[in-house]
């Protein structure tokens, strides 16, 4: 960690994610940490960001810390519109209007495919069987992955989460890579970045394989490669990513009132 600023890896991940979001965009955030990253961007550098949750809560700022859900009281006391899933994920995302989405992942692979459905012991096989560990399912992440112009995946960097190939594709990234997305009628463009607790991966033009684009000041290429379940290529322009500024950190902590990102 920095000598001057004390911040957690999760805070660095949230700030790096927030930096990807530009002023004026129409943005949708999934539940949990992705919401903190999004509302951080709104408070920090994107005052004209048009924010929504898939719950159909628009124009709100969380009050009292990380909302328990995309519809709970913490996100319902200053909204400008209460709408619906069909409106948020349909009229505004599946339509192609949404610029950027932020989603989480239990497991992600080298083409940015996301698994949030289950953990199986080995391959599922030809017959679908219950997972050893059932996870939350796709939620709105599949709809964001199919419809948003681009989306960002936020995930803790651990070998078990970074697989050569996810066991179950809950939300499509670039599928088998290259232009595989073109086989389907997707409206959205696919994942633009995987932002982790160690650094940032971006798709290599052409192959759409995710390669290392940068590492956080407290991390390194070696540490990231050791925590990635495929042979991770490194971009020739990969560089260290600037640590949070004091202002960024102060703004993030105002959004993250209950310190969800400071819990280790």
């Amino acid at each position: 960690m920095s000598e001057t600023l004390d911040f957690t890896r999760q805070e660095m991940m949230a700030i790096a994610t927030g930096r990807e979001i530009r002023d004026g965009e129409l943005a949708i955030f999934g539940v949990g940490l992705s919401m903190l990253a999004g509302y951080f961007a709104h408070a920090n550098h994107a005052p004209n960001l048009r924010t929504m949750t898939e719950g159909g809560v628009y124009g709100a700022t969380p009050v009292g810390g990380l909302p328990w859900g995309i519809e709970c009281n913490r996100i319902s006391s200053n909204a400008t519109s209460f709408s619906s899933a069909l409106d948020a994920l349909g009229f505004l995302v599946a339509s192609g209007r949404c610029d950027v989405g932020v989603i989480g992942a239990a497991q992600v692979d080298k083409f940015g495919n996301v698994n949030t459905t289950g953990i199986w012991d080995g391959e599922i096989g030809p017959s679908f069987r219950p997972p050893k560990t059932r996870l939350p399912g796709a939620g709105g992440a599949n709809d964001i992955a199919c419809g948003a112009k681009r989306f960002i995946i936020m995930v803790t960097h651990e070998p078990k989460r970074f697989a050569e190939k996810v066991t179950y594709v809950s939300s499509p990234g670039y599928l088998e890579g290259g232009d595989a997305r073109k086989r389907y009628g997707f409206v959205g463009g696919g994942p633009s970045a995987i932002i982790t607790t160690l650094g940032i991966l971006r798709p290599e033009p052409g192959s759409n394989e995710f390669i290392l684009d940068g590492w956080f000041p407290f991390s390194s290429i070696d540490e990231i490669k050791a925590n990635t379940g495929w042979d991770l290529k490194v971009s020739p322009t990969a560089a260290v990513i600037p640590e949070p500024t004091a202002a960024e950190l102060a703004t993030l902590r105002k959004v993250d009132e209950t310190g969800a990102l400071r819990k280790q």
């Binding site: 159909g56 328990w68 319902s76 899933a85 459905t117 030809p126 059932r134 709105g140």
Partner: protein, 330 residues
């Protein structure tokens, strides 16, 4: 001439469950996300009446489905999201899925309202560009040997552009128990907070039972007809039950009960914990007063002191007292 008033549809919770639920039915609820408005108390009543073999249509899992699944009352479920958001995995549902006792068919949070919309419009299927290319399309828990699944979200060609899209089956559940903030005695309902998919569900279900936290005089409905998102003409029955979504939240009225959300989910992780939970929080109360006593009057007051309370201000003057509701119940 003054408006003609329809007769009151208020009935007791127990009577509503007796009339509108049966074993093996397709039962829909959970239409306002995992920690928000949901007719959880109706699920408790289904267990009190011993309902089982339910086919649950829940846009999102909620503590209601978590409880029904933990108790073994559900054999099939269709969901877009099956956890409890920041409260974590839904332990009861998870246990039922992992043991193979419950087949959970996965969709996404847009696919479910689209399927309800298709049911509402009586469309043969709904074309969409989500869920395609993923294992949501290729894997079916209802037909596990059909791989890649051909009957779940078959790929069809858009006749106009030639691109490959998904064809979704539509949903028309037998009964939907829908939680709302305010309803009049005939079922005109105002929903504070996100609607999520309650509007589509109310039109897709064959029968709708409204579970309202508060009952308002019809003057309120006639003042704000634009805000009535579920009209009485599609409602079978209205149940008055304060804190019906507890331990989840009802914007304008009460916050999430964080302590009980965690306690309940922990209990549902095991068979014994589930039995204890049913003993302590499903079977003991008698009527609304007993239910609120069970939650705890101090807790009720604390949860009611919500930062969303101002949302209710325009409607307060029309809210009926429990005595007035009793008087309006046939």
């Amino acid at each position: 001439m003054s408006p003609t008033r329809s007769p009151s549809k208020l009935i007791s919770l127990a009577e509503a469950a007796r009339r509108y639920s049966w074993d093996g039915m397709q039962y829909a609820s959970g239409a306002a996300l995992p920690v928000g408005s949901d007719a959880i108390v109706f699920g408790r009543e289904l267990l009190r009446q011993g309902r089982h073999d339910l086919h649950a249509i829940f846009h999102c899992n909620s503590q209601q489905l978590n409880l029904l699944a933990a108790a073994g009352a559900v054999t099939k479920a269709e969901c877009g999201f099956s956890a409890l958001e920041v409260f974590g995995f839904a332990n009861g549902l998870r246990r039922a899925v992992e043991s193979g006792q419950l087949a959970l068919e996965d969709y996404s949070n847009l696919a479910m309202p689209l399927r309800l919309l298709g049911g509402a419009l009586n469309w043969p299927f709904v074309p969409a560009t989500v869920n395609i290319g993923s294992d949501i399309q290729d894997r079916s828990a209802f037909s596990p040997d059909d791989y890649p699944a051909k009957a779940k979200i078959p790929a069809v060609t858009d006749p106009f552009t030639g691109r490959q899209i998904g064809a979704f089956s539509v949903l028309q559940p037998d009964v939907a128990a829908i939680h709302v903030t305010l309803a009049d005695v005939t079922g005109n309902s105002i929903l504070l907070g996100t609607e999520w998919s309650r509007v589509e569900l109310s039109r897709a279900a064959k029968k709708v039972v409204i579970i309202a936290d508060a009952i308002v005089d019809q003057g309120c409905i006639r003042q704000y007809p634009n805000l009535v998102r579920i009209p009485d003409i599609i409602v079978e029955a209205v149940v008055y039950w304060p804190f019906a979504a507890w331990p989840q939240s009802s914007p304008g009225l009460y916050d999430v009960d964080e302590e009980h959300m965690k306690f309940m989910n922990k209990a549902l992780a095991a068979e014994q914990g589930t039995a204890d939970y049913i003993r302590d929080f499903v079977t003991p109360y008698d009527g609304v007063d007993g239910y609120l006593d069970m939650i705890g009057r101090d807790k009720v007051a604390k949860l009611s002191d919500t930062s969303t309370g101002f949302l209710l201000d325009p409607y307060r003057r029309w809210i009926l007292t429990p005595a007035q509701v009793a008087e309006a119940t046939p």
